[in-house]
Symmetry: D3
Subunit: 171 residues, 6 copies
């Protein structure tokens, strides 16, 4: 299968924060942002695989900044690494202040999607070849994240998670 | 501050899967489920703290089962542990088949919320006292998850995450 | 057909009042509450019958309390009585104040659903056996309400509505 | 206060049935129709009173015909009678088949609204003067319906509901 | 094919402006109004043709008045002229102030729809016979607008657009 | 005021076509696309002006291609020219087939926005300096479109619309 670069799947979704999406402090609900990121990441995964794609997991997501009503939010998603039938998608979120136009990083998240055929059966996806320094760093971190995911799901013993274990143990 | 039990914050949100929430395979979008879980967990956190609550982070979430159009989905959220101003909320998701009425576990997720005052400043929350065996198990796992969260955010050194480190190293 | 208890169909739908659902006084639109109650009652009817269910009628509903933006609303629906292919569903609505956490009864409503097969033809449903005092009281009132419904629709003569007539005439 | 005719408050809301509003049989949810009727009736009440209006009650509503996906639905609302601060609104619903263009009566409903000032306090509304035969018939039935509503709410003794009682007792 | 009058396709869609449809100045988004006009015009075109109808083009639309949150907006659509398989639909928009009840013209727009069969192939539509003075004026202007549309799309040479050319050149 | 390039206001909004946005042929409603384009163009205008922006007009829009359910739609908006307080925004729409991944041009549209201060009063915007060949061509066409708009609104005599008149008359 012909490999692709992360930029071939790059998906940009810019939209406003509307009143129906905000909490009592007039900030974007965390759940709304999770849903927007899922849609953008799902499109990136489809662009990479040219298949129907379904969300397999969401990595740990931290909400460090609140996003006020009326902000412009840009969600950018790119494939960071693939494993046979699954794709890790890295998502960066920026927000622009309504008046100053200043743009700041609001969030980062990592979702995993699986490519499936019309019956829902997982199918192989093309490999990804990272190009920029950041893409290479994210590509390399993906294996550690996959091990963490397997350990948390009880599908891998911590002792076998060699990449992950190295974080905690300096032999 | 007067402590509370997990069942005092228990929140149940039962609803159908509507056509506008499904992907091309006619299953519920992962992002929609993330948003429903956020709303239910946010209500549980508000019930525990009697404060405005904002999503602080989402733990690793795996989507093991697809939820077809027309299913009835029940999201149940309860506080599992608190830390000064934050609350870990455990979420269990069940789905019922439209015809058989059979109910199966579809998902589990863990969100963290912070209680804030009207200006958005974090404020203290009551402690939680687990009662059932499952509640105690989740209470105890919470510290390990908090350390993992801090390590992933680069706010704690892996060597200081004693609870977490024990998973990987048998001294 | 195996009878069921009201608690077997009990359906709880807890959710917030969002800005897009409020009128110019910042209270929940009556129509939105009617729609939420219909969804919850429809799920209760499906749980009882394990069939597709369609709304047949809505009893008189009074809106005694306004439900402000930001409230948490809990809709609870249970089968109160069945008639061959139809089910009366009793719905209780509570709201919690955002800050005090105090929960008050906001509404009561009664919907009737019919169970249908895939072609839309009405099909028989299991009988219901009330357990609590309140369930028994609601079960007994159901016949009077059914007669009222038939009289209002011109399908029964007032003189034949014996249960209902007894309210107005002490012979 | 200057009286008005029912046609001065006449409100027409024509719209399609969209996929997100339908049940598993591809017919309009009862709850969606209840919400549309509430919006149309609320506008009619506002046109009559030139005040903010809030839903006070919904009369018995029967759903005799299912409304399939893709139908054009017309909701027409007119004030049928007023009582000091409240207005009874009569609602007629027609649906047009997508292909034949044939229009049939799908529903009838009666909602009651109260006019309020900016603080939510009920305020007086102009009287209504019915013109057509149908408007006169609906005007006259309104008193009986108001008594039924008060009896059901436990605010009037059946023996005092003279208009209503006459239905059941031929003295 | 039997001709029809514009009033046979007349479609009225009255609804409120809700918080989720407003911009930071609390006025209706232009895009929301464009979408409402499209739905009303599409129903008018369907009523005229008794066919599925798809939007072919939107004429120049000017937004001269802002429509504040809480206004009641009435969109009225009527067929103004037909060309073999297409229909020009004229749309008038009024808004009513929430308190004074005063109704003012807020907008005018012209959409063109094509009637299609179940496979999406354009099919012939009945001719329209204008009745009122305004309907006749709009019927006559339609040819000039069609030419303008063809010139702008590069499908007609300006020199062949005789109706349109006459606006600019007095020979 | 410091001029800007079109690429500084470039706004990309990529999203899926969901079931609730489609007509009976399972294609995106024209009105939904008009609303998406309005949101994207409004963000581009805000990025250029750093002001609140309101839709002033929509140029002639032709819908040449239907956009099926499940397509990925990309809306791209850039400022093409400014006039003291108004901005012409050029919008290009592409759609990608769900399976082949092939991307085709689906639409082009031109909206005009006005920048306003907090009281809704129009305020001056920075000039735009086109860079690419296409941007220059669009910049130059904008004057002709502005004249057409003024002539259609009856605010300019056809004989004064020199740019536009040249299309029809070779002196």
């Amino acid at each position: 299968m012909q490999s692709k670069t992360p930029s071939e799947s790059r998906t940009i979704m810019t939209d406003m924060v509307l009143p129906s999406e905000t909490n009592p402090l007039n900030n974007l609900f965390g759940g709304e942002l999770l849903a927007r990121m899922d849609r953008a990441a799902s499109i990136a995964a489809r662009r990479h695989s040219r298949r129907i794609t379904v969300t397999a997991s969401v990595n740990h997501v931290a909400f460090n900044r609140s996003v006020p009503l009326g902000s412009v939010v840009t969600v950018e998603a790119k494939i960071s690494r693939t494993f046979r039938t699954s794709m890790e998608v890295y998502i960066d979120v920026w927000m622009e202040d309504r008046f100053s136009g200043e743009s700041v990083k609001a969030n980062e998240a990592i979702y995993t999607f699986v490519a499936v055929d019309d019956t829902g059966k997982p199918t192989e996806v093309p490999p990804v070849v990272p190009e920029t320094e950041l893409e290479i760093e994210r590509f390399e971190g993906a294996l550690r994240r996959k091990q963490l995911s397997l350990v948390l799901a009880g599908k891998m013993k911590p002792s076998e998670a060699t990449e992950l274990r190295a974080l905690f143990v300096k032999d």
